[in-house]
């Protein structure tokens, strides 16, 4: 049995109950510890990526970037930025709709923070493991746009209103190809459970869903473009286009509320890149069976400390892959010019939507076509072939002949305390 965060929660809970706390309080404290972990992870990538963005953009523009704060490379630049932002005055413009203006950053932060709850950082390291984890994660991430629109509307400024409207139009359009591209690896994997999708891509890198068929290969790039657009990153950052709209929906914000938008942007960049890594790039697997075998041995052996350490290494692999994708987003931002709003909409509606629809059709027909040429095993979802250890744990025996039709089960029995911690 893999020690999951759910088990950790029960362990924490039973330990706390051993301290003569009531069950409710123990559950509450276990939930608080989990929330603190996820919230800590909400800040960590943001800190790293803000520094990386400054450094990379500096290098791309033939500058040095930050050099002074915290030694030679400016490691502590993000903390210095945060300290500066906290000290700034919290302003609400006279023309603004006060309550909505104040509440908008929280909507953005809560939605991108909550999205991290459904992201498995290593095998079983997931706050809420659900059969519909990916669906719920996309649902929660789609709430971020509400905060941006509210910010744009409530600022009482033309720049902000334009930014909010552009953001709304862009997000509503780009969600369509993004969702279709997310469905393509799901068809291949036969599961919506992110942990399961990650677990079934073990073995050589050829087992990654990216290399499963030509359609998933192209779908990855389409997904990445849409994900970049959904994070409002350049060349799609029309909502805060400095050259036309001052700072778009951020114009009237200052201090900590402004930094909330910024933190949420980096956290959701990490979240969409994490989805890409899990869906296409093998999750926490290195893609080299020898290394993965060394990690999987202690991971499933049952010893808590060793499996925890193995998962920590898996987390490092996952984090490195996702960070690499984030760096690509930063690289794109500082090398490509911003599109016009009509070009942004045209890219989505005239190119990305039809391309993703064709890819979807292709991904559906591909296994069917292969089954006519005799490669029958390629037709079944990878989940039933590549994850034998997972299948052992499903709660009933089904004849192997029906395995192509079977839906993969959730491998990790999430305990109730975990569910409550997630909520």
């Amino acid at each position: 049995m893999i020690p999951t965060l759910a088990d950790t929660a029960t362990t924490i809970q039973s330990t706390l109950e051993g301290w003569e706390l009531s069950e409710g309080w123990a559950m509450f404290l276990a939930a608080v510890i989990h929330v603190a972990l996820v919230a800590g992870f909400f800040g960590l990538p943001a800190g790293i990526f803000i520094w990386a963005e400054r450094k990379i953009s500096g290098r791309i523009q033939d500058r040095l970037g930050p050099t002074r704060v915290g030694g030679k490379f400016g490691w502590l630049q993000a903390i210095a930025d945060g300290g500066k932002l906290i000290q700034k005055e919290d302003l609400v413009p006279a023309d603004a709709d006060g309550p909505l203006f104040r509440v908008a950053p929280y909507v953005v932060v809560v939605s991108s923070l909550a999205a991290l709850m459904f992201l498995p950082f290593a095998d079983g390291w997931i706050a809420v493991s659900l059969d519909i984890g990916l669906y719920l994660m996309l649902a929660v991430m789609s709430l971020e746009v509400i905060g941006v629109i509210l910010a744009g509307y409530a600022s009482g400024s033309k720049w902000a209103l334009f930014g909010g409207m552009r953001e709304a139009a862009q997000m509503v359009s780009y969600e369509i190809p993004m969702s279709i591209c997310v469905v393509i690896p799901i068809i291949t994997a036969g599961s919506l459970n992110l942990n399961e999708i990650g677990a079934m891509q073990s073995g050589w890198a050829g087992n990654w869903i990216l290399f499963n068929d030509p359609f998933t290969f192209i779908a990855f790039f389409i997904y990445f473009v849409c994900a970049t657009a959904s994070c409002k990153r350049a060349p799609f950052d029309l909502a805060e286009a400095e050259s036309e709209l001052v700072a778009g929906f951020l114009t009237e914000y200052s201090g900590f509320r402004w930094s909330f938008f910024f933190l949420a942007e980096y956290a959701s960049m990490f979240a969409v890149c994490g989805i890409a890594v899990l869906l296409f790039l093998g999750g926490w697997h290195t893609g080299i069976p020898v290394v993965d075998g060394l990690l999987d041995g202690p991971r499933y052996a049952g010893d808590f400390v060793y499996s925890w350490l193995a998962n920590l290494l898996g987390f490092t692999v996952f984090f490195s892959k996702a960070s690499l994708l984030v760096c690509v987003q930063i690289w794109i931002r500082w090398t490509l010019p911003r599109l016009r709003i009509d070009q942004v909409m045209m890219t989505c509606l005239k190119y990305l939507v039809p391309i993703s629809c064709v890819l979807f059709l292709g991904a559906v027909i591909w296994p069917l076509a292969l089954s006519f040429t005799g490669h029958t095993t390629w037709g079944s979802p990878t989940g039933n072939r590549a994850a034998p250890t997972m299948q052992l744990e499903s709660r009933d025996a089904v004849p192997p002949s029906t395995s192509a039709l079977r839906l993969p089960r959730q491998p990790l029995a999430a305990s109730d305390s975990n569910e409550d911690a997630g909520r």
Binding site: G24, D131, L136, A139, I146, A168, M346, D396, V398, A413
Partner: protein
């Protein structure tokens, strides 16, 4: 205990948000309190272990419909903060309809023998179902297989039509509505000069 606390928090938020929709006058504030109300309803669904319904509630209503609603307000509003003013007749009519609807729901709730209704934890047979993994059961029901039978083991009991056909009919209907709306709202074709430079 924890569940009850969470239930009361979500219930108060859902009810308060719904009241806010009625009482507030600024359209976007109304939309925001509708967000709170619908989001808390999703939380109530989570408490019931209906994770798929809750996620769909978030995706369709909160993330989809309300974004379009606010977007529509922003596109059509003439002033900076659009307000709704109602005449007293409308208020009275609305209150009467609301009271009638409330009494219908209240009589239904009172009429149910709640002791006989099993809780969702009793209905769910496996730990996995109890923790709210309903997507599999819903998917099986959609294609007409009762949730407790395995795929592959054909059961002859009951019809096998499921809800797939109604679902498809509704989705095709929605597609027709979408195409029709796009046709009605399309930019009217002008004479040759503009038509050539449409895709700049």
């Amino acid at each position: 205990m924890t569940e009850q606390t969470l239930f009361f928090i979500f219930a108060i938020l859902a009810g308060g948000g719904a009241l806010g929709v009625v009482i507030l006058q600024d359209i976007v504030r109304m939309a925001f309190s509708l967000i709170i109300s619908l989001g808390s309803t999703a939380g109530l669904f989570f408490l019931l272990g209906a994770d798929f319904v809750a996620a769909t509630q978030l995706l369709v209503y909160v993330g989809g419909t309300l974004v379009l609603l606010i977007f529509g307000v922003m596109l059509t509003a003439s002033g900076p903060f659009r307000r709704i003013k109602m005449s007293s007749g409308e208020t009275l009519l609305g209150a009467a309809v609301g009271l009638l609807f409330f009494s219908v729901i209240a009589f239904t709730v009172i009429g149910v023998n709640w002791q006989a209704v099993p809780s969702h934890r009793e209905v769910a047979t496996t730990p996995s179902d109890q923790s709210g993994n309903t997507s599999r059961a819903i998917g099986m029901r959609l294609v007409g297989i009762p949730a407790d039978t395995e795929i592959g083991l054909r059961s002859d009991s009951g019809s096998r039509t499921g809800y797939l056909l109604p679902f498809e009919i509704v989705s095709v209907h929605l597609l027709v509505v979408l195409v029709g709306a796009a046709y009605l709202a399309r930019a009217k074709r002008r004479e040759s000069t503009d038509a050539t430079q449409g895709d700049a």
